[in-house]
Subunit: 212 residues, 4 copies
DNA sequence: AATGAATGAGCTTTCATTCAT
DNA sequence: TATGAATGAAAGCTCATTCAT
């Protein structure tokens, strides 16, 4: 009478992930305190009570969600940057390509968005995210920039500033899309943004160079 | 013989602003739903009940807070950009100067931060902020860029992309400071960030030009 | 500079009564717990705080209101019934005349209405009202009826029942007007009600008598 | 194997009614605003929160309570009056019998009592009750009386007055019992009241007839 | 593994009451 | 005498969490 124990098993194994997906949607839409467990449960196709078979508390869901996001992103990106020891400009373009990919998958915005919104309430989460994601990526970028400066390819300037010049626009675009863009509104093409921005950063906005 | 009613009056007149200041601190720290009215009241040196003499509800406080922030910023900045019809590059530097000012006053980050965090829960607030602040500033910047392009001073590129290249790093810095920067940590000098970023955007990061 | 101490004095003396009038309106409209002191104060043309110069608490207002109502009604009516030692039928008509008067002054409904509505919350008030008003009037009526029965003018029947038959319709009319009658609706003429009811009670509704 | 879900279910199904019963007791004792939800919940053997699983708000409970009362009473009584097309006097006795039944079940007083006490605060409830209960019953009685008058069995008189003469005493008795009667005090027998009153109304209080 | 009825701590909000002026 | 800003206890309501089934 039991259709298939294996199917059941597979479903059960997938449950935590399904719940986290639903939680991500809710946290994104309503913030952590604004999100109701009942809503999350419904989003995962479960009853409220069942959620607690998989997570000890709502806060635990948030933590797990961030951790999952962290693991998915951090290392891979950093590796791609660091292992590339060739032309700094090529490496920069490579890095930009990663951003272009991220920007075209709105579901990836969710975790950083939540981290940003809830940093005040959950400092450890902000800390975790900074340590595991931001500092890793930022560090890799800064090293890349320094390499370019040493090689005389990049102008001399505080790498911290350069990092912001480089990725600030991508962060802004993420916030734009999750916060201000309206339902029907046309989205700026990620490829166009990334390549356009890279062009500006590398060559400058001005047609004639040498401004003070 | 009546000397103090005026003092009382003056305090009473100041109350709404004091409450909004306290509310701003709380919303920033805990988000809207996470902030407790009692906390806000204490921050304003009042009892819980007194807050309700000035604002009908917590939501009303949020709305008033945003509106106050909107009024303070929007038009003035836009005016300064539009009235300057001279050299686009000079105008850009002028605009950057405004950002440098904003970035050096962390209390000005509060409203945009809250808008970003609560956009999901209060769409009207996000809409108001976009209409009154963002679109105004963004529009002025886009017009400036087009002027520069028509004059042949700026390279041809979608102004929407250029705007992101220009101000994205400043947005990022705001988020950095309110979300990830740690208490003791040294803050990137706003002047340095603005002038450095402007230099990159205008002249490019590369020492030799003409990249594909 | 003081226009007239006497006028001031006169106003001050009238204050408690004005407040009670306002309280009566509010209690009638919203019930005791539903009525707000601020509302009562406004109705009396005073500030919330000033009310407390005249009454120690809201409950005190209710008590004073009932007491005032009690004093105004009780004895006078009873006296008129008891002093009339002549024809019981004439006495009954006399008593009915009092009810006709009361029914034509809706402001007199207020106190009994409030007593009825708040009896559960303030048993002592219900007790006071019963002792001072109802039992006095009821007692007088019962004595009158017994006199008529002894004299062979009235049929033999439990005087408690007769009292209800006599005044129930008037009570009902009071409730009807304060509870169910709609703003524009035409009011049943008190005179017609009283004389019609009296006619029925004295002579019967049937054209042919002697029903089992 | 599943024996108890049904028991659970049965309890859950009964809950709304249990809560309304408890609410009726509380509203009767303390009035609507005076009644505390926690009290109602305790009266129904539940926690505060559980009540809100069944009713959206305290006001909703009041509304449901009235509606339940309305449905229980209205039509049935009216039907009994209207379907009886025989002797008007018999019909009147029939109607009186219904009142005798109602008067002997104090739990039936609750709804009208609450309606009377809260009419000021909830006009729609008073309207509903009048439309669905009072006007229905009153209309049936008035038709009955007119039939009697046309048949020459009843004296000519405004039916509105006659209705008050007929049922006023019963209303008064309801108010007496819920408001003024003291705990130990002996209650007037409903049968005696109804039959006595009917006797008076039909035949008159006087031994000799023909009073002006 | 899953349900959903039930709990109760905790929040927002109201309002009688006080008090400095 | 009068004001009205301020208080704080108490109430309605929500929702994360538990538990019997």
């Amino acid at each position: 009478m039991q259709a298939s124990p294996k199917l059941r098993q597979r479903r059960a194994d997938a449950r935590p992930d399904e719940i986290l997906n639903a939680a991500a949607r809710c946290f994104l839409a309503c913030g952590f305190s604004g999100a109701k467990v009942e809503h999350i449960a419904a989003g995962a196709g479960l009853s409220k009570g069942a959620v607690y078979l998989y997570f000890k508390s709502k806060e635990e869901m948030l933590r797990a969600l961030i951790e999952r996001g962290v693991k998915r992103v951090a290392r891979t990106a950093a590796d791609r940057l660091d292992t590339d020891n060739g032309d700094p400009i090529q490496a920069l373009k490579e890095a930009a390509g990663i951003f272009a990919q991220v920007l075209s998958k709105p579901e990836l915005f969710v975790v950083p968005r939540i981290v940003i919104a809830e940093a005040g309430n959950f400092p450890e989460i902000a800390r975790l995210y900074r340590d595991e994601v931001i500092d890793v990526g930022k560090g890799a970028l800064e090293r890349l920039i320094k390499r370019g400066q040493v090689a005389g390819v990049f102008v001399q300037m505080d790498p911290q500033v350069v990092v912001r010049s480089l990725i600030g626009p991508f962060i802004m675009q993420m916030i734009w899309r999750t916060t201000f863009e309206r339902p029907g509104e046309e989205t700026l093409d990620p490829e166009a943004l990334v390549s356009g921005h890279l062009d500006i950063v590398l060559n400058g906005l001005c047609t004639r160079k040498e401004h003070q």
